[in-house]
C-alpha cells in the first residue's frame, strides 16, 4: 500500500468515526456531551497539528548546529593540502 493510500485509509476511518458520533448515524442515542465534543474535533486536530508543525520546525531551525570549527579546520587543511600537492608535482 502506498503512503497516499495509507493516509486515505486512515483519514477515512477517522472521518467515519467522527460522522458516526457527531450525526448519530447508527442511531445509538449517544449522550449529548459525546456529540458536542466530537463535532469540532476535525478542526481541533488540524489546528493542533498546525501548531505542532510550526513549533517543531521552529525549534529545529533554532537549534540547527552551526559548524564554525569544521569550517575553520577545512580552511587549514586546504592550505596544507595545496602545499603538499605542490611538492608532489601538481600544477594547479
Amino acid at each position: 500500500m502506498t503512503k497516499l493510500l495509507q493516509w486515505l485509509f486512515g483519514v477515512s476511518l477517522l472521518v467515519a468515526g467522527w460522522a458516526l458520533v457527531s450525526f448519530d448515524l447508527l442511531d445509538l442515542k449517544l449522550p449529548q456531551p459525546y456529540r458536542e465534543v466530537a463535532w469540532p474535533m476535525p478542526l481541533y486536530l488540524l489546528v493542533s497539528f498546525g501548531c505542532y508543525s510550526l513549533a517543531t520546525v521552529g525549534y529545529r531551525v533554532a537549534t540547527f548546529n552551526d559548524c564554525e570549527e569544521a569550517a575553520k579546520e577545512l580552511q587549514e587543511q586546504i592550505k596544507e593540502a595545496r602545499e603538499d600537492l605542490r611538492k608532489r608535482g601538481l600544477k594547479m
Partner: protein
C-alpha cells in the same frame, strides 16, 4: 575465523571541480591512509570544460592508477547514471557516495566504516540534522526551507532516517546496485528515493552525524523552481511508494 575482505570504492561525480578535486582526493587519501583500509577513488567527470579531467590525470600520476580511477563521460548526464556507471567499475564491496566540492569531509569516513560494521548495515546515511550534525554557511532562510522540507518529508513518507536529501552515504555495493536501478527521480528527490526504496526492500539503515560546510551556497541560491520540483518529487514519492 577469517575476517571478511573489505574494500571501499569512493564515487566522485564531478562537474567543473578543477579547484576542489585535488583537495578532496588529498583528504580522502589522508583519512583512508589513517584507517588502513583498502580503497579506490573513482572520478566520474561529465566532460567538464574547466579541465577537471586533466587535473584528475595528474592526481592519478601522483597517487597511482590503482587508487585513482578515471571513468569520465562525454557530457552532463546526471547523478543517477553517474552512480550506475561508477558502481559498474567499482572493485570494492562497499561504496561511498559523496560530493566533490568539499561540503562533505572525508574525516567522517572512519565513523561511517565503524558504524556500518557495528550493525552490519546495508547503508549508512550521513545526517546534518541528528546528533551533533550541522551545517556552516547557511542563512536563516536556507535553514528554514531545509528543516521545513525535511519535516514535510518525514510526515508524508515516515522514512526512518533523519536526513533524506543528504548525499554523503556508505552502501554495500550490491545494495546500491539494486537501488539505483529502481530509482527514477532527479536532483534532491533522487537521494530521497534511494532511502525510501531501501526501506521498501527492508534494508537496514544506520546514521552518522556529519558537518556540511557549504561554500557554494552563495553562488547558487535555493530558488522557487528548485522548491517546486522538490515538492513535485515528494508528492510523486508519496503517491507511488
Amino acid at each position: 575465523f577469517a575476517s571478511p575482505w573489505r574494500k571501499y570504492s569512493v564515487l566522485l561525480p564531478t562537474y567543473n571541480e578543477r579547484e576542489n578535486l585535488p583537495l578532496i582526493v588529498w583528504l580522502l587519501v589522508k583519512y583512508f591512509g589513517e584507517t588502513g583500509y583498502n580503497y579506490e577513488i573513482i572520478v566520474i567527470d561529465d566532460g567538464s570544460p574547466d579541465g577537471t579531467l586533466e587535473v584528475a590525470e595528474q592526481l592519478q600520476k601522483i597517487y597511482g592508477q590503482d587508487k585513482i580511477l578515471l571513468r569520465p563521460r562525454a557530457s552532463k548526464l546526471g547523478l543517477g547514471t553517474a552512480y550506475i556507471h561508477g558502481v559498474k567499475h567499482a572493485t570494492g564491496n562497499f561504496v561511498f557516495i559523496m560530493d566533490a566540492d568539499l561540503s562533505h569531509h572525508p574525516k567522517f569516513i572512519p565513523e561511517f566504516i565503524e558504524k556500518q560494521k557495528e550493525g552490519d548495515y546495508d547503508l549508512v546515511s550521513g545526517t546534518r540534522y541528528g546528533g551533533n550534525g550541522g551545517v556552516y554557511g547557511w542563512d536563516l532562510r536556507r535553514k528554514l526551507i531545509s528543516r521545513g522540507a525535511n519535516f514535510l518529508s518525514q510526515v508524508l513518507l515516515r522514512p526512518g532516517a533523519s536526513d533524506l536529501t543528504g548525499s554523503f552515504r556508505l552502501y554495500k555495493k550490491k545494495v546500491l546496485e539494486n537501488l539505483v536501478e529502481r530509482c527514477v527521480s532527479k536532483g534532491y528527490v533522487f537521494q530521497m528515493e534511494l532511502i525510501i526504496r531501501a526501506r521498501q526492500l527492508n534494508y537496514t539503515i544506520g546514521e552518522v552525524p556529519i558537518s556540511f560546510v557549504d561554500r557554494v551556497y552563495g553562488e547558487s541560491k535555493l530558488g522557487g523552481s528548485e522548491i517546486l520540483s522538490f515538492t513535485k518529487g515528494l508528492l510523486t514519492l508519496f503517491a507511488t511508494t
